[in-house]
Every structure is written in C-alpha cells, then in structure tokens.
C-alpha cells in the first residue's frame, strides 16, 4: 500500500526533475519527496480516524477508571491510557494534580505521564510508515515498559514523600477518603453521547491543530534525514561508531538529552541513521531520550515535585532507556527484517 509513495517520488524526482537516481542529490531529493508525501497522507488519515474514536474520552473518565483498578493492573492501565490519551505538555501539571488529589497512587500517575509523550498517534504513524510495523511494535512496548517500570520503582521508593507540600497533603487526604471520591466521579463522568457530526467536528479540529503544530517539524526532520541519506556513506556508523558495543547505548541516551524534539522531527532522522548502519537499540535509546526526557518539561514538574523526586524520575528514565537499548540491540536481527 505504501509503495505508491515510492512511485510518486520516482516520478517527481527522476522523471520530472530529471535527477540521476545514482547521484547524491538524486537520492536525497527522492527520500525527501517520498517521506513527506507518505507522512502527510498517513497523518491526515490516522489523526482523523483516531480522533473520531476517542472524541468521547476525557481525563475525568480515565481517572474514574483508574480509581477502580487493582494496584498492579493500575500500572498497566495507567501507561495504556497515557498511550491513547491526547496530551499536551502544558497539561501535565493539572493532570498530575487531578490524579494525585483523587488519591491515585503516584506510581500509576507517573506511568501515565511517562508514557503519554512517548506514544502518540503521530509517533506511531511515522514509525510504521518509515520503519515498519515491527519497529513500531517494539517502540510501543518499550514506551509502555518505561512508564510501567518507572511507576513501580517510584512507588517502591515511596516517592510521594517528595512531592511539594500542597500536593502531598492533597494526596494523603484523598488516600484517607478514597471511598467517597469514587462515588462523585461515577456521577460526574457518565459517558457522553456524541453524534457523528460532533465527532467529525472534534476530529477535524484535532487534525487541523496537530498538523498545524507539526508540519514544519516534518519538513525539518525529513530534510535532515534526506541529507544524511544522500550524503553520508553506507556503513559509516558501523565503521566509525562501532557496531553496537555496549557503551554506544548510554552515549546515545546522553547525546539525546539536550535535544528537545518531538517524534515528528526525530523519526525521519532515525530512518536514515538505521539505514546507515546505526544499531537499532542505540537508535531507539536516542529516540526515547530526545522525545521523552526533555528538560523544559522537567522544569515544569518542579512546581509539584521536590528536586529529589524530579532527579529520581530522571535517573529512572535514563536507566530504563539504556537497558531497553541493550535489549533491542540484542534482538535487532528480528526487528528490521520483513517489516518495512
């Protein structure tokens, strides 16, 4: 199905513009056209369809649902909802407080918050279109695992001690009176019934909003990717950075930290890097580190967390990314075969 975009790029780059398929410029331009057309087409369809489906999902309902879960299942559901709920980083504070003041365990809230920015329809669409379904699946599993494990570790450390005072108080109060908040939620969050027309309007607005926000990143990301693709020789990474030695993974994690980017900008670059022989686990670690552990977002969380908690979350993330990178380097042969 996705071959159509290769055909379009063949036609535009080689037949219409008359570029030589063997030349550097030719391959770079071809890459750019193929990826931008493919990404925009996939995004338009997927964002719209997903938004239709989740038009009636709201955070109050998610919270009410998480409330009823058993502790262990809670981590999985927390992370799962994080994956499917639309999320903007400026909502992280009120969301965090909304969950915390309802007495939802900190680890479950963090499972939600850690997974949410990593897994979203844009990232999934781009990975699937550019790197194949196996890599996408791996990415989703890793993204959720980072959230789930992170949440469990935080609860094991009893990290709620390190919340800012007002948040810690609200949390303890809610823990003491969990029973009645549950009833309130049930009342205020009766499922909304939406007509198709309402869903359509919601989905159309989502599509406009998201594409309006990320279109430049698609061009920048694909532009960088195209440059790498055309001008960096095959196997350059394998020759210069080593083929998956253990230290390449933590190095990639640290290299990704200061880069604050979203999935849209990073994934086309990854496509090129993997094509040039950068090991998959190393690439994935880099990707997670740029997308999930962004310093601006962390400083936002300072409003509700003490430094100690912030630092703990950060270290957990770095360790998780590194371990995941190693695991994926180990299973790499399976990941990139026959998926694209």
């Amino acid at each position: 199905m996705l071959e159509i975009f290769t055909v379009i790029a063949d036609w535009l780059a080689y037949a219409t513009l008359g570029l030589d398929p063997e030349s550097r410029l030719g391959t770079a331009v071809h890459f750019f056209i193929e990826d931008t057309t493919k990404i925009f087409a996939l995004l338009a369809v997927m964002i719209y369809v997903i938004a239709l489906a989740r038009a009636s999902l709201n955070l109050e309902r998610v919270r009410a649902y998480l409330h009823k879960r058993h502790r262990v299942a809670g981590y999985f559901f927390g992370s799962g909802f994080g994956a499917i709920t639309p999320f903007c980083s400026c909502s992280s504070i009120p969301l965090f407080l909304g969950f915390t003041s309802a007495g939802i365990p900190l680890g479950i809230t963090m499972a939600f918050l850690l997974t949410s920015p990593v897994i979203n329809e844009v990232a999934v669409v781009m990975l699937w279109g550019l790197l194949g379904w196996k890599f996408t699946l791996a990415y989703v599993v890793v993204g959720m695992a980072v959230g789930i494990i992170g949440g469990m570790v935080l609860d094991a450390l009893r990290a709620h001690r390190w919340l800012q005072d007002f948040a810690a108080k609200a949390y303890e109060q809610a823990q003491a009176t969990t029973a009645d908040t549950g009833d309130d939620d049930a009342q205020s969050t009766a499922p909304q019934r939406l007509t198709f027309q309402q869903r359509h309007v919601f989905a159309r607005d989502e599509l406009k909003e998201i594409v309006g926000r990320i279109w430049k990143w698609v061009f920048i990301g694909v532009g960088l990717g195209a440059g790498l693709h055309g001008f960096v020789p095959e196997g350059w990474f394998a020759a210069n950075l080593g083929a998956g030695q253990w230290w390449t993974v933590p190095t990639a994690v640290f290299a990704g930290l200061p880069l604050y980017s979203n999935a849209t900008g990073v994934i086309p670059v990854l496509e090129s890097l993997i094509g040039k022989g950068l090991p998959v686990g190393t690439t994935l670690a880099f990707c997670m580190s740029t997308v999930a552990a962004s310093l601006p977002e962390f400083t936002l969380l300072k409003q509700v967390m003490q430094w100690r908690l912030l630092l703990t979350v950060f270290v957990i993330l770095l360790v998780n990314f590194t371990v995941m990178g190693w695991v994926f380097n180990a299973i790499a042969p399976w990941l990139l075969t026959g998926g694209a």
Partner: protein
C-alpha cells in the same frame, strides 16, 4: 465580572485570555480578565486539562480554547 483563565502558561492559555478580553471589549461588557498559573488553584477547582475558565469563582470550561460564541454567552449572563 471577574474572569480567571487557568493554565500553566502555554500558548492556548494566552490565546484564551486574549479572546475573552477581545470579546468583552467588542460587546462592551465590563470584565476583568486574569491569568492564573498557580497549580494549587487548578487543583482546588479540580481542573485536569487547561486552559480552564473560571467566572466569578465558578468553573465553566476546561480543556480547550473556547469558541467566540461560547465566550459571548458567558459574558452576557
């Protein structure tokens, strides 16, 4: 009336405050628009997604930039 826009300072929150001020001016309603970034306040109103709008101490909206029609309805009441 006193209108508070709750949000952590993102673009949407700024937009919301501007739109409300504009609407108030254009239909000549005396409204005092204020941006609130204190997370403790959001928690008190039980707001989980921003921007949220509070009019005279009552939460009327949360989670998106309200459209013009909605804003004018608030202002007229």
């Amino acid at each position: 009336m006193k209108i508070e826009v709750l949000g952590t300072g993102c673009k949407k929150c700024v937009n919301t405050a501007e739109q409300i001020s504009e609407a108030a001016q254009s239909i000549a309603v005396d409204a005092q628009v204020e941006k609130v970034t204190d997370p403790a306040v959001m928690m008190r109103y039980g707001v989980m997604s921003t921007p949220a709008v509070v009019i005279d101490g009552k939460l009327v909206h949360s989670g998106s930039v309200p459209d013009r029609e909605t804003i004018e309805n608030w202002l007229r009441n």
